[in-house]
């Protein structure tokens, strides 16, 4: 291109900052100063978390309050929860690219970022938890193919790779990066094949979500968690898949609403919120039904047959029957009914509250499966254990939260996470015009 200054132009050209040049065209973002102010506390939290994780890696797991008896704590609870919440990525991809639910194009980029953040956080925390990151490759080279954990490791690693690849087109679509011809073309070609990745992601997620549940269900020595099932899979295998698929859309809904509130912008149409709520409500209702049947079978048959009346699990405070009620009814049935009722779903307050309750329900389920399972005594000489995470464990946990907020904040600022944002801005302008 030959550059020629226009003879009629007398004013010097306005200069734009590098930060401004990276922001997608046609969307408004806060000033660079405000953005730095926003990320500063999260960066500080991340630094503190990395220090905590570093202590655990260098000095060992004696920095935690876990021991040989209470081997799963805050970190595994966090892993299970974020992996369930991150299921929105695979499930949204499945609905959009395989089932062709085009409306979900409005949230797919955000879902991928959330999935990437959740799975990266989970894998990093697992690396600290395992404690020997330099030997992490052992699990791939010498796999115990009969272990649910091996399947989880393989599937999560593969799926994290898939999510990272799915994130690439989002990054390459950045306004500045797409000026590089090879980036523009690669993004275009990779995006054309994204349905393959969506299919692989669905396959991998299906199995690792299930195996995460399955690894509790096969614990014969932990009658609180042990379940009967189908072939080699205990019922928890299927319940974990179902619950993750149910809350994934709810978490996407919740995060999108939060981003809308923080950024004070309309990002997706209300119909998309409604659709996410409806899908989540439907799956949550099926999950609650399945969980209820499973719990009844466990109370009346599985547990008594191996010598443990179910009532005794709930005699240890604070884990009374309230927790079962909260898990199935309060954070399961109630949000499912709200999300399934069109009148309630149409009101943002109810919709968001129900989505938050659904997410809380799955977090409570993962807490129960992890912490309550280990706290309850099994053998006659066992005692009821209590556990409270150390500050190093909590710091590592907070690092994942800070990492997630930072990655999402940068992605929201510099990439087009919500393709409808520009269109909705014009919609708002049209209303102002009237």
């Amino acid at each position: 291109m030959r550059r020629i200054p226009s003879p009629g132009s007398t004013k010097p050209e306005r200069r734009t900052t590098v930060d401004r040049q990276l922001i997608p065209r046609g969307v408004k973002r806060c000033s660079t100063g405000k953005f730095l102010l926003w990320i500063l506390p999260w960066a500080a939290l991340l630094a503190f978390g990395l220090y905590s994780a570093g202590l655990c890696l260098v000095k060992g797991l004696n920095q935690t309050n876990m021991d040989n008896r209470f081997a799963f704590g805050l970190w595994i609870f966090l892993d299970l929860t974020v992996i369930a919440l991150g299921a929105g990525a695979f499930f949204t991809g499945f609905l959009l690219y395989i089932l062709k639910l085009k409306e979900l194009r409005a949230v797919i980029n955000s879902a991928v970022v959330i999935g990437l953040v959740c799975y990266t956080g989970a894998v990093c925390v697992l690396a600290v938890d395992v404690g020997q990151p330099l030997r992490a490759w052992f699990t791939f080279w010498y796999p115990n193919v009969h272990s649910m954990l091996t399947e989880v490791t393989f599937c999560i690693s593969c799926y994290l790779t898939v999510l990272a690849i799915e994130y690439v087109p989002i990054v390459l679509k950045n306004r500045k990066l797409r000026q590089v011809p090879s980036f523009l073309v690669f993004e275009f070609e990779l995006h054309k094949l994204v349905y393959v990745l969506a299919g692989v992601g669905t396959f991998l997620s299906f199995f690792h979500q299930g195996s995460l549940g399955g690894l509790y269900g096969v614990l014969r020595g932990r009658p609180f968690a042990f379940r009967e099932g189908f072939a080699v899979w205990p019922s928890t295998f299927f319940l974990f898949i179902l619950s993750a698929a149910a809350v994934g859309p709810s978490f996407i809904l919740l995060t999108t609403w939060l981003v809308e509130k923080i950024s004070r912008k309309n990002l997706v149409r209300p119909e998309v919120f409604g659709l996410l709520g409806r899908i989540s409500g439907l799956l949550l209702a099926v999950y609650v039904l399945a969980k209820t049947v499973d719990t009844l079978i466990w109370i009346n048959r599985t547990s008594p047959e191996i010598g443990f009346p179910a009532a005794q699990y709930y005699s240890w405070q604070p884990f009374g029957t309230w927790i079962l009620f909260a898990e199935i009814v309060l954070f399961g049935l109630v949000p499912a009914l709200i999300l399934l009722a069109p009148q309630l779903r149409a009101r943002t307050g109810w919709l968001v509250a129900a989505a938050a309750m659904a997410c809380a329900g799955v977090a409570l389920n993962r807490f129960v499966m992890t912490v309550q399972t280990l706290a309850l005594p099994t053998l006659s000489f066992d005692r009821y254990l209590s556990y409270f995470p150390s500050w190093q464990e909590t710091g590592t946990f907070l690092a994942v939260v800070a990492f997630g907020v930072l990655v999402y904040s940068f992605s929201f600022r510099y990439f087009q996470l919500f393709p409808s944002e520009r269109e909705l801005k014009f919609g708002a302008a049209a209303v102002r015009e009237r």
Binding site: R3, S6, P143, C158, L184, L193, V200, R422, E423
Partner: protein, 275 residues
Amino acid sequence: MLPWNYGFHLDAGHIVFLGAFYTVLVIVATTLVSAALRSRQDLRSRKLERIRWHSEFNDLPARDRACRHVLTGELESRECPHSFDCRECETHARLVEGHPVAAGEEEEIFGMSFPLDRLYHRGHTWVRPESDGTVTVGLDDLGSRLLGTPGQVALPPVGSQIEVNGTAFRVHKHGADVRVLSPVEGEVLEAGAPGAGWYLRVRPAASGEPAFRHLLRGAEVRPWLMRELERLQLTLTAEGAAPALADGGVPIADMSQAYPQADWDAVCGEMFLEG
């Protein structure tokens, strides 16, 4: 992991588990390699501009992707499936065959000059066929009023090839870096300047009506322009300018000077169909 590794047994568990794992790895790797190879092929076969436009077209809001026959009222609703390249559109050919586009009756539309001897592209450029078989390319009146006097113009070198919906030239103005879409395909013979009233003289790659079928003409211009003014009004409001263009007004000569507070990068990006 592999048959020669310690602990490997040739049993169903290993075969099923590792088989599934390797299959996934192969699919993911094949997808990546395939995208990389296709990209290399695209770059070699000079598809960059076409891909850039396809990518940007898909990012346009649905209302901006409306078919030209929706603008004229012939169709109720239809999104253009050919990225505004009607040369390959069967629906357009059928509709034009049934109802040829009426000749335009006015050169001044909404106070702007749209001469009848030109064909118009939806990216606000015009094409004027010359007697020697070449065509002249320029910015239409609305595009000119949007950009006013450009700060800097980047024109393609003489002898280079441009293609329909590829980059014709770039204009810098008031913080905006605007890519102006090419209305024709062909070889650049001469470069003009903003003050000259035209920007490029091009020898088209093909001649005759089919080569220019994608361009608006005659009676099509007025409804399209009406839609563009609505779009402009919305864009200006959304991008921080005061509510503008009340009914009956005429766009002023240099809008960016009148609304310096507006985000002109966004306004021009929207109006010139750049993502």
